[in-house]
Subunit: 151 residues, 2 copies
């Protein structure tokens, strides 16, 4: 995603206003986190975030990410590993995507698929839901395999 300066501006504006509407403040730490997430091309672990931005205490990262997630600005995702990863909410980026999870180096890359295939996914999920009294909210379609580097 690696956002340009202008896009970053928009993100900050959106984040600030959304947080304000929930009675939360848009502090330096939270700004830093939004930027960190805008800078990468896939969901990252908290450890990954901390590496980059030294100085950010662990507990603050956890607490702030929780706040950002509850505000709908950040999406928490869990893939094959135990530890969670975080990415900007799709609502914020206007960029619906899926993930390529490398089973060797554990990296995760965003990827998009053509609209018609996306429609198929929705159809499949509707069918899944229908046959089981399940109220679908969202889906997760990830592919596990070997990335370009590891394959």
């Amino acid at each position: 995603m690696t956002a340009a300066a202008g896009q970053l501006d928009g993100l900050h504006r959106a984040a600030a206003s959304r947080l304000r509407s929930v009675g939360q403040r848009y502090t330096a730490n939270r700004r830093m986190l939004i930027e960190a997430l805008a800078d990468v091309s896939g969901p990252v672990t908290i450890a990954g975030i901390l590496e980059g931005r030294s100085g950010l205490p662990v507990s603050s990262a956890y607490r702030s990410l929780t706040v950002l997630e509850r505000a709908g600005l950040v999406q928490r995702v869990v893939m094959g590993e135990e530890r969670a990863r975080y990415e900007l909410a799709e609502e914020l980026t206007d960029h619906h995507h899926h993930h390529l999870v490398c089973s060797s180096c554990a990296s995760v890359e965003d990827v998009t698929i053509p609209p018609e295939l996306e429609r198929d996914v929705d159809r499949i999920l509707a069918s899944l839901a229908g046959r089981s009294g399940f109220t679908a909210v969202s889906h997760q379609l990830d592919m596990v395999g070997l990335c370009r580097a590891c394959g």
Copy 2:
């Protein structure tokens, strides 16, 4: 899956022979784990397994499940939560399926979809792989929402 007695027999036979071929033993604990997994209708956490079978020490559960997984008898899956869940390997049950993850009570149910939709999933994944130098190995298509009880 809640297996009948005869099916259980088959599972035990398969497990025993598979383990033997890898120089491992099919012990009482491992048998108990296979039965526990055959008894439920979706992947379960280690805590969930331990609840049922009191007496099984935690460390043994972890170690045995690791062995069973490496032997290809058990599949370790991670959904929205941090802690892993375990299920019998599809190869063992001949029962390819997906998951319905309840975002409220965190329960996970197995579900199957019609073959033609399954083909669509494969097609989508092939497309995903093609456009990114990614070597697909497996996929994970899960639906998140509210289960019948919580909805």
